[in-house]
């Protein structure tokens, strides 16, 4: 079983890297639907793997200078408060309700992953909050550092709170909502929003992981093969991504995610989990 779980986690990590959704959102349905693992153990194991992949990738991104540490730090106030709230909510509602919420988030993620990401060029007056918090920055391009300004800080902060709740409730990184907040609300360049989102995921997940550990949701025999599998899968996935026809892959994998979503919803609604 341990070996099969590790192999499954490897697949989830690869899928997560290829779709840009992250491993956590695939590992929980995989463990509960395919391996019959209780969703609480699955969430605990997923959180651990989310911290591993996010921290591993962030190590490289931060050094390349794309990550905006001030934006990350400021928005982490919203995601950590949200994550603590999410972890408490998870203790109050039934596993079946968690499965239903999970199914809905999966459906939304599949929808987002097939849509073309639109890069906003910041126009309009500079945001008051962005100026106060000194969020504007630069990122490296081939022609040298390029400056960008930040918009919609209150809206981004609010969306980050929601991302935190989902992360704490479902044991996922909530990268989809984080990127949405930074692309759509705050109008950050792609490279900056992707890497800063990833940078924040580890801290967000750590905020609820402490609570899950003390509740006994994190089992070493399950979390360990999951962590190693997802980490290896994410590394391979990132390599494949460099030379693949991503549009086709995305369509295929989004199909898989829709199937997982429907099954999570069905099991949750019929009380079969």
């Amino acid at each position: 079983m341990t070996l099969l779980v590790a192999l499954g986690a490897f697949g989830a990590g690869m899928l997560g890297a290829l779709t840009g959704l992250g491993g956590g959102i695939i590992i929980v349905p995989l463990l509960t639907l395919v391996f019959g693992v209780d969703i609480r153990y699955a969430i605990g194991a997923s959180l651990v793997s989310v911290i591993a992949t996010s921290s591993g990738a962030a190590a490289a991104f931060v050094r390349e200078g794309y990550t905006n540490i001030r934006i990350g730090m400021f928005l982490e106030v919203a995601t950590t408060v949200g994550a603590l709230a999410g972890a408490y909510i998870a203790g109050l509602i039934s596993p079946n309700s968690i499965a239903v919420v999970f199914g809905l988030v999966l459906l939304y993620s599949a929808y987002r992953s097939t849509r073309h990401r639109e890069e906003h060029r910041s126009a309009g007056p500079p945001d008051r909050w962005a100026a106060l918090l000194r969020l504007d920055g630069t990122y490296p391009t081939r022609e040298g550092p390029r400056a960008y300004t930040v918009q919609g800080v209150p809206a981004g902060f609010g969306l980050m709170f929601i991302a935190g709740i989902l992360s704490g409730l479902l044991g996922i990184g909530s990268g989809v909502v984080k990127v949405l907040a930074m692309d759509q609300a705050m109008h950050l360049p792609f490279k900056v929003s992707t890497t800063t989102s990833n940078f924040m995921i580890g801290v967000t997940a750590a905020a609820s992981a402490g609570i899950y550990l003390s509740r006994g949701y994190i089992d070493p025999g399950l979390a360990f093969p999951v962590m190693l599998g997802v980490l290896a899968g994410a590394l391979v996935g990132a390599k494949v991504l460099a030379g693949a026809r991503t549009q086709l892959l995305r369509m295929i994998f989004s199909g898989i995610i829709v199937v997982l979503a429907i099954e999570m919803l069905y099991k949750g609604l019929t009380g079969a989990l």
Partner: protein, 130 residues
Amino acid sequence: MNHPGPGSRWSDEQVELFIGNLLRYGVMTAAAVAFAGGVIVLIHHGAATADYRQFAGEPAALKSITGVVAGAARLDGRAVIQLGLLLLIATPIARVAFSLVAFVRQHDRMYTVITGIVLALLLYSLLGPK
């Protein structure tokens, strides 16, 4: 490794480099400790399968930091894995703690407060009353 030198004000680039290294070595150490625990489990128990269908929760010894450390000191395989996972959870927290020190040294009062709030929330989650 290019450590920010003592006495000087750290530049953003130095801080980024140090954070990158902190995250990398944190994950590597955590994975190595967990792997060692996995080897101990295999030696003692072979590939015994556990049941995760029914949620029972972990025993008290694997739920608290003191319990995990005590178990790992006895070289109990499951506790050693759990120690690795605990180190993994601690990695982003250490990153925030380092950011706090960096903002203090940069005399950045606003971000010292912001980072202090995040660190307090993280420590509350890990150490706070349950």
